[in-house]
Symmetry: C2
Subunit: 315 residues, 2 copies
């Protein structure tokens, strides 16, 4: 067996078609899904392999496009049936999506079985899927060095006990503000983060849409602003691409749970910079529908905006 790449990220989640309505317009049956956004974002930083399932209606050309970016798509199963479809809308408050319909389709019987190469991944991102599946993925990882997960209202309310089992095994969780309040039963950000950290993750990131993200680690709080874009066209995927850049940054830097114990100052610093990378990536995502902006994003644009954001937060 090959030696695992020490920076390799494994991401498990959905590939989807999205139908989206925002104040800026409408997009019908466009490419979406958590691992789609996550992997494109992460691929700017580190090698990544994705695990998921699509139906026969999913364009193979897109999987090819991902492969050409060095995203290992061998874990993407193509099975008979239709691809997962999500329809949602945003009103003037672009920070919160309203789900109009969810058709799980082939995703309903998704059972992530990892190859030996996937089992060897040191970095793991569990996108917003059934917490039972999240655990099934973790069961197969041989030696995780850093595990992050996302979740959402649906699982927090529907499978709280299973989600809590997942949380006991992850280092980092990212949630939006409302989800953090729901999961913790608290209404104050700081207390919500403390309650969630007591469930397992040593790092909690609370995403606040156009107002940025707040990072809780150890005794410290980091207030990261969103990069101010001229127009938010479609917030879909902002959180997943945030997570992709965040996790990619940490993998590239070699930040692990061991570092958290052995060098907490360095760990905190890397987490803060990873959060800023996530904010910058999300700011590109929202500039267009679907993954369109990410697909044409150049590394030099990314670097330039990271520099600008640093200038905008330096006292």
């Amino acid at each position: 067996m090959k030696t695992p790449n020490p920076f390799q990220i494994l991401a498990v989640g959905s590939m989807a078609f999205d139908t989206i309505e925002t104040p800026a317009g409408k997009a019908d049956q466009v490419l979406g899904g958590s691992v789609n956004y996550f992997s494109i974002a992460a691929s700017f930083y580190a090698p990544i392999q994705i695990v998921g399932v699509v139906g026969e209606d999913f364009p193979k050309s897109h999987l090819t496009w991902l492969s050409e970016r060095k995203i290992d798509t061998s874990g993407m199963k193509i099975v008979p049936g239709k691809t997962f479809h999500w329809a949602g809308s945003y009103d003037k408050n672009l920070n919160e999506a309203k789900t109009l319909s969810t058709a799980l389709n082939v995703f309903e019987h998704f059972d992530p079985v990892l190859s030996p190469a996937q089992q060897a991944s040191p970095y793991v991102f569990l996108a917003n899927i059934d917490p039972v599946l999240q655990q099934r993925v973790l069961d197969q990882i041989r030696q995780p060095r850093l595990v992050a997960c996302d979740s959402m209202n649906f699982w927090i309310a529907g499978k709280p006990d299973e989600l809590k089992k997942t949380l006991r095994r992850v280092d980092i969780i990212s949630l939006n503000e409302g989800e953090a309040f729901l999961l913790s039963g608290e209404r104050v950000l700081r207390r919500a983060a403390a309650a969630i950290r007591a469930m397992g993750p040593t790092v909690v990131i609370i995403k606040r849409g156009e107002y940025g993200a707040t990072l809780f680690v150890g005794d410290s709080v980091f207030l990261a602003p969103a990069y101010p874009v001229d127009q938010v066209t479609d917030p879909t995927g902002a959180g997943d691409s945030f997570a992709g850049a965040f996790m990619g940054f940490l993998a590239e830097a070699g930040a692990t749970r061991e570092m958290a114990r052995e060098n907490p100052a360095r760990w905190t610093e890397l987490l803060r910079r990873a959060v800023l990378s996530g904010c910058v990536m999300a700011s590109f995502t929202v500039e267009d529908f679907s993954i369109h902006r990410l697909m044409r994003l150049r590394a030099d644009e990314l670097v330039a905006r990271q520099k600008l954001l640093m200038e905008m937060i330096t006292p």
Copy 2:
């Protein structure tokens, strides 16, 4: 005539009784008013004299209390009649007040006539009053070195031409997000700031409630987060106390419009630190109704929270 104190701030605006309802409770006929909040906040940094008018129902003990903080209240006229009264409420969105009633009372015939000592003030803050009165104050200032103003929807919609005359004569304007959009006709923060800067002020501060403030000066943007408090009890006065600490910080540092021309790097740096001081002050203000929290605020608490906020924004 005495040589003017080079750091002296003159603030013109309202002393008021407020009746406020927020999700945290209700406060009836409590002390409020823009120069009240402004001057207490500014007094932590620089000497300040205030100009305004109250009715005979206003507690003289409060003017005495202000004087004991070295706030020069000799410009506060006490006239027959009732003090300005504002009633407002906030729903769950604590960033926006709903005005329930406004009784101008003695404020209706307010005509700010400055004493020679007041006319000599180098730093001037024009709180949210009729722009005609704001200009009348400026007409009397002999040698302004830095002028800041505030305004609100009522004047932006009601007296746009007069407000624009004021703006041509001020260095700095602070507005909340909705007001900036209304004044500029733009819907994007960056463009709104550019449009307002074209009206006169070289510095625009857009306040975003619990999400902080954005500073526009020269080509640079500074994203200042709000200090995360555990509970916002009453947002009233957050903007005025922000302005008080902001202006106080600049006066204490000797930042002037000359500095803006001669040393723009230093000017920008001081403005950024002044905005952070404003954010910290506002975070105390909102922790209790009225000016209660500010009245019991200690300098060491202020310094400690400033230090914490700096830690929370350092990458």
